[in-house]
């Protein structure tokens, strides 16, 4: 088997899907790309058994064939080869020889029959949306997922589909974010949980533009198609917590702040906080917001004050500054407001301005103050 491909075009395709490959694998073949040539069309596949990524490109080839090529060495070599057509020669023992203007490189490939088969979209339902809508939804939710494998339901983003729109929900039991879009819809009412890793891969593989993407799903798998790039992954087989009951409907006090000022103050003060809790206490009184953090182990202390609008009783409430910073980063509005009630109840964060067909809600539990 023999084919000729542009070095830079090939590298671009490989880098688009290589993120799926784990560093340490039980099965050595998972460190390979599967190359499949069918009439001048090269399909490249990478998988970690849970997530499969696939891409296509044109090459010059006389005959069809398949081979597995070790991913790391191939990418490392292509990175250092200036743009040029490269000739790949594969013999019957799956030994791969790459010929460039500079010389010849050899690597042992593997039998393509040992490469895992990818899931098929049997009985799948689907809908379409813009690439940027999915990327935005991932950016606004993924950070709040849990890494606790003991509660698998929370280690992914929960998709709630119906005719009126789509909701994306993520939580780690301490905070929760919900991002709703009404300009996207699905003919069926369904819910499923997509794991973190494939969403992270999509975030970098998908362009942030108006390209249309197709999303299909069945009971076990999730499929995303963008042009010649495809991703499929296993869904998380667990029940998402009943999150609606924890969203407070009436938090009487409203604190409105400039987002960038608040973010700056939190970043500076949290440097001096305890590095396991990142506790920053917010002391709100009238139109003044004080932020305070300390770390008794290292005798650190950080204090700041800033202007705010507040309509409630004086309140001292503490939060994990990291949570607040991540949430404030996940919204674009110049001003945000927090809806609060007591120092032990959840606070809501919402943007003051948002697009007509989007609705973002963030929820964070405080840290208990021992005083």
């Amino acid at each position: 088997m023999k084919f000729i491909a542009s070095s830079s075009a090939l590298l671009k395709q490989l880098q688009n899907i290589s993120g799926v490959i784990n560093a340490n694998n039980v099965l050595p073949i998972l460190e390979d790309f599967l190359f499949d040539i069918d009439k001048n069309r090269l399909t490249i596949v990478a998988t970690d058994l849970e997530t499969v990524m696939k891409t296509e490109m044109q090459v010059e080839a006389k005959d069809n064939g398949r081979v597995c090529i070790p991913a790391k060495i191939l990418i490392d070599s292509l990175k250092n080869i200036p743009e040029q057509p490269l000739t790949f020669n594969i013999d019957k023992n799956y030994s791969v020889e790459i010929t460039s203007d500079n010389g010849k490189y050899k690597v042992m490939g593997e039998n393509p029959d040992n490469f895992p088969k990818d899931p098929t979209a049997d009985d799948a339902s689907g809908f379409t949306m813009t690439s940027s809508a999915l990327v935005t939804a991932i950016n606004k939710t993924l950070f709040a997922t849990s890494t606790d494998d003991l509660r698998p339901a929370m280690t992914g983003v929960y998709f709630e589909l119906d005719k009126k729109g789509i909701q994306f929900v993520a939580t780690d039991a301490h905070r929760l974010v919900r991002y709703k879009r009404t300009d996207v819809s699905s003919p069926n009412t369904d819910t499923f949980i997509v794991p973190r890793k494939p969403l992270n891969l999509l975030k970098s593989a998908l362009p942030d533009n108006e390209d249309e993407i197709t999303i299909n799903y069945n009971t076990n798998h999730f499929f995303v198609i963008h042009g010649t790039t495809q991703m499929s992954c296993r869904l998380i087989d667990a029940r998402f917590p009943d999150y609606k009951v924890v969203i407070p409907s009436e938090n009487p006090y409203r604190l409105t702040v400039n987002r960038t000022e608040f973010l700056g103050a939190l970043r500076r003060v949290s440097v001096f906080s305890n590095k396991s809790t990142y506790q920053v206490a917010l002391n709100i009184s009238g139109s003044e917001l004080q932020l305070a953090a300390q770390d008794v182990d290292f005798s650190f202390e950080g204090n700041e004050r800033m202007k705010c609008q507040y309509n409630g009783e004086d309140l001292v409430i503490a939060f994990n500054a990291k949570f607040l910073i991540e949430m404030l980063n996940a919204t674009d509005s110049d001003e945000v407001y927090m809806e609060l009630s007591t120092p032990t109840k959840a606070g809501l964060i919402k943007p003051v301005d948002q697009e007509e067909n989007e609705e973002q809600l963030m929820l964070v539990m405080p840290l208990m103050l021992n005083q």
Binding site: T147, S276, Q279, V296
Partner: protein, 352 residues
């Protein structure tokens, strides 16, 4: 369980039965390693952790099978369900091995040997797999006994036979005796339990350190360790041995930073927070030394682990030392799990 992974494969795929089956990575390409070999494959000298290439050289017609860990895990759960019919005091050692304290005896059978027979029968009839069991008065002897008549064996070592049994046991079979200690013992002319028994407790401790105490007891058939059904983790640590000895603090700090990252990941996986960080050094002459430091509040994040490691390194004089191994561990865990220390607030409230 006997050749657990391989037996499950032979059970689920009749075409593998009576054939040398190797569960693990395939020998082709860069090759994997053997996880478990069936008894047919063991006849060719194939052992766990051997490279699959070597295994294939020993037995060219061996069948190589990819492991199906989810299946093994679910079979393991089924085995535990069977155990639970007889006792809830179960201490798992791995997916296919566990200590059972049958003094609880939920079914009122009355004889440990009878319980072992019933469990083995249930495993055979319900799961079509074979297990080997060892029955005795303590964990150490039971474990050794379980390995004596593999596969599909049941060995009983009663109180009256224990001392004689321990005396004939080669030293390397003793719990905690690895290659190094066994070599040391043999150099001293200690080859069996009987030889160890001749030494006083003080002499054993003098030669082998703390474990000497344990050897003194165990060789007399005394092992008071209880079967711990949910063993509490007391410390979590990671370590690495380096190809070339580290001679500068900068190089060590660089490696320690990587180790603390790994440690932080492992700790958050277990959901454990602790207050004491320990750094372990093994020098080029194999002498091991450890240094610890405790903070007021508990933590498990990378930045604190590394800050504390730096405090330890600042206090430790390593001039002229060559370090071949570094380790970092965290201990002194909160009993309540994840709560913070007494002085600072920081109790994160939960939504669910």
């Amino acid at each position: 369980m006997d050749a657990f992974y391989a037996s499950v494969e032979q059970r689920d795929f009749p075409e593998y039965r009576d054939k040398p089956v190797v569960v693990g990575g395939p020998p082709e390409g860069r090759g994997g390693v053997v996880a478990t070999a069936s008894y047919e494959a063991r006849e060719y000298g194939i052992r766990s952790a051997m490279s699959s290439k070597t295994a294939q050289r020993l037995c060219p017609h061996a069948l190589f099978v990819f492991p199906r860990f989810d299946v093994y895990r679910s079979v393991s759960r089924q085995i535990h369900d069977i155990f639970h019919r007889y006792t809830d005091s179960i201490e798992p050692l791995s997916l296919d091995e566990a200590y059972l304290d049958v003094t609880a005896d939920k079914r009122g059978i009355g004889y440990a040997l009878e319980i072992a027979k019933e469990i083995r029968l249930a495993i055979k009839e319900e799961l079509a797999l074979t297990a080997s069991a060892g029955v005795s008065v303590n964990k150490f002897v039971a474990k050794i006994a379980s390995g004596m008549q593999k596969p599909d064996g049941l060995t009983f070592i009663g109180p009256s036979k224990i001392e004689a049994f321990m005396e004939q046991l080669p030293v390397e079979k003793f719990h905690g005796v690895g290659k190094v200690t066994a070599g040391k013992m043999k150099n001293m002319g200690l080859h069996s339990g009987a030889d160890l028994k001749k030494l006083s407790e003080a002499a054993l401790v003098q030669h082998f350190g703390k474990p000497g105490k344990f050897y003194y007891q165990i060789v007399r058939g005394i092992d008071e360790r209880p079967v711990e059904s949910d063993r509490e983790t007391k410390s979590v640590s990671v370590e690495d041995t380096y190809q070339e000895d580290l001679t500068t603090k900068e190089a060590m700090l660089g490696e320690l930073e990587l180790l603390t990252e790994k440690l932080a990941e492992r700790l958050s996986g277990y959901g454990l927070k602790g207050r004491t960080v320990t750094v372990k050094f093994k020098f080029h002459d194999f002498i091991i030394s450890t240094r610890s430091h405790s903070l007021v509040t508990s933590f498990n994040d990378h930045s604190r682990l590394y800050d504390t490691v730096r405090i330890i390194m600042d206090k430790t004089d390593l001039t002229g030392k060559k370090v071949r191994l570094l380790g970092v561990g965290l201990s002194n865990f909160d009993s309540s799990g994840g709560q913070s220390g007494p002085q600072q607030g920081g109790n994160q409230l939960r939504l669910f």
